[in-house]
């Protein structure tokens, strides 16, 4: 059985419908909408700007690799670094239930 928590560059991800991102006084704040998602008493989550840029591109259509290719146009960084950070972010968000995998791209 495939481990759904394993993050792959050729997989398409989308933010969970049980989360909402709001910009509050310039900060990007994730608000869990139901229990079972990032369960911590009284806690929201703050996305830094890079994470927000990545989050916005996780649209349920593009693979992480394709997202990285878009981000490289906006960041002065090597593709490998962007891919690695995307993988880290996706792994973190998946663990917290903030992200869901939609499908793996066809080879």
């Amino acid at each position: 059985m495939e481990d759904e928590r394993k993050v792959e560059l050729d997989t398409v991800y989308i933010p969970s419908e049980d989360m909402l991102v709001k910009q509050i006084q310039g900060e990007f704040v994730i608000i869990p909408l139901r229990r079972g998602v990032a369960d911590l008493e009284d806690v929201f989550f703050k996305l830094n700007e890079d994470a927000k840029a990545m989050w916005d591109k996780l649209d349920g259509k593009k693979t992480l690799k394709e997202v990285a290719q878009e981000l490289i146009l906006e960041y002065d960084a090597a593709l490998e670094l962007i891919e690695r950070e995307l993988l880290e972010l996706a792994e973190e968000l998946l663990k917290m239930g903030m992200l869901v995998s939609v499908k793996r791209a066809r080879a």
Partner: protein, 380 residues
């Protein structure tokens, strides 16, 4: 790029709190989704009968509520209190709640807990409220139902509360201190503190009715405690009394704490929140019902109410001599529950001193140690 992408953020760490110290910004709003209640509490200012058809017909529809919520979110509201009456009486309570929740609002609910069922529990577990505030009218059936005048309500309340607590839905308990339950206040306080350790408050200030019902208002007045009784119960609660001693000066708005000012409002009403009545009227706070201070959201937009109407109300001034010479310059106004809203409920005018409030404030002031007594200007 940086190391940490996602950081936990507690409610008090949201960047908005610092901001509102210096500017007017909408944070929260109260939705009174009904004026009806299954209880008939002696002291309550908004509890029309549960089966009152005319009142029910006047209640905002789900579509109207959604429309107002949408506008509130555009104004950057973060928090909504669902209240009533008893909000669980609404057949579409779940729809209203879920709509607010899916808009990312923090939700508080005020309820008497008598109508809580397993279905509510399942729902609240899936979509947790920020908190549910339940009022405890008594801890014995005799006292509880003397207040609520609803046979069976004590058992229903105990069952509802137990369900909430057992299922770890976040509950906060509070009490009203009135003639009919004051003998049980210590037991009520213990009952509450045993069940919700982080929070308990009681309120001895009974407001008059939103509908100005004369008979019911007389009943409320008869339930009010004497000033010295209020002081005694406050002193018996060290936590509350210390907070009163330390915080009383902070309740006054420095902009208005001066002589020669004839503004009516010296509180923060309309600065960070508003209330919507069951029939769709915008108010600056839950007590403010004067016709010149309400705005019909069925005919206008929330943005206009918030940006134009509120400053207009807050700019209201008084020409009444006894108000300007008494309440407006009173050095202990911050210990008093006098405000234009309560003045209107008591006297049908926004700027009338209220003798009972005055006596309570003076009794509270005398109870404070001299160093804690309010120190705002005392001489013109």
């Amino acid at each position: 790029m940086q190391d940490s992408f996602v950081e936990p953020l507690k409610l008090l760490e949201l960047p908005v709190w610092e901001k509102i110290k210096n500017e007017r910004r909408l944070i929260s709003f109260d939705l009174e989704i009904t004026a009806r209640c299954n209880n008939n509490c002696r002291h309550c200012y908004i509890n029309l009968p549960a089966k009152d058809k005319r009142t029910k017909e006047k209640e905002m529809s789900l579509a109207q509520i959604k429309n107002i919520v949408e506008q509130a979110i555009e104004l950057r509201a973060l928090w909504c209190l669902i209240t009533g009456g008893e909000p669980l009486l609404r057949e579409d309570f779940f729809d209203i709640y879920l709509y607010l929740k899916k808009k990312g609002l923090l939700i508080s609910v005020f309820t008497n807990a008598t109508l809580i069922t397993e279905e509510h529990i399942k729902f609240f577990k899936r979509y947790p409220p920020r908190d549910i505030e339940v009022t405890v009218y008594g801890v014995t059936e005799e006292t509880y139902e003397k207040v609520t005048r609803n046979p069976g309500s004590c058992d229903a309340f105990m069952d509802g509360l137990e369900l909430l607590l057992k299922n770890k839905v976040k509950v906060r308990l509070k009490a009203m201190a009135l003639r009919s339950n004051v003998h049980e206040l210590t037991a009520i306080s213990q009952f509450c503190r045993q069940r919700t350790k982080d929070y308990f408050r009681f309120d001895p200030f009974l407001h008059l009715r939103f509908d100005a019902d004369i008979k019911r208002n007389e009943e409320i007045k008869s339930e009010r405690l004497l000033p010295k009784e209020i002081v005694t119960i406050e002193k018996n609660d060290p936590e509350r009394f210390q907070a009163l001693e330390k915080g009383c000066d902070g309740l006054i708005n420095p902009d208005f704490a001066h002589f020669g000012c004839d503004h009516l409002f010296n509180c923060g009403t309309g600065n960070g929140s508003f209330t919507v009545s069951y029939d769709g009227f915008f108010r600056l706070c839950s007590s403010l019902w004067h016709p010149d201070c309400i705005y019909d959201l069925k005919k206008g937009m929330l943005a206009e109410a918030w940006h134009k109407f509120v400053p207009q109300v807050r700019g209201m001034r008084s020409k009444r001599d006894d108000f300007l010479k008494k309440c407006r310059v009173c050095p202990i106004i911050n210990l008093c529950i006098w405000c234009p809203a309560h003045s209107y409920l008591e006297t049908a005018e926004l700027d009338n001193p209220v003798d009972y409030f005055c006596k309570v404030a003076h009794a509270r002031s005398e109870s404070l140690a001299p160093q804690f007594r309010p120190s705002i200007a005392t001489q013109p």
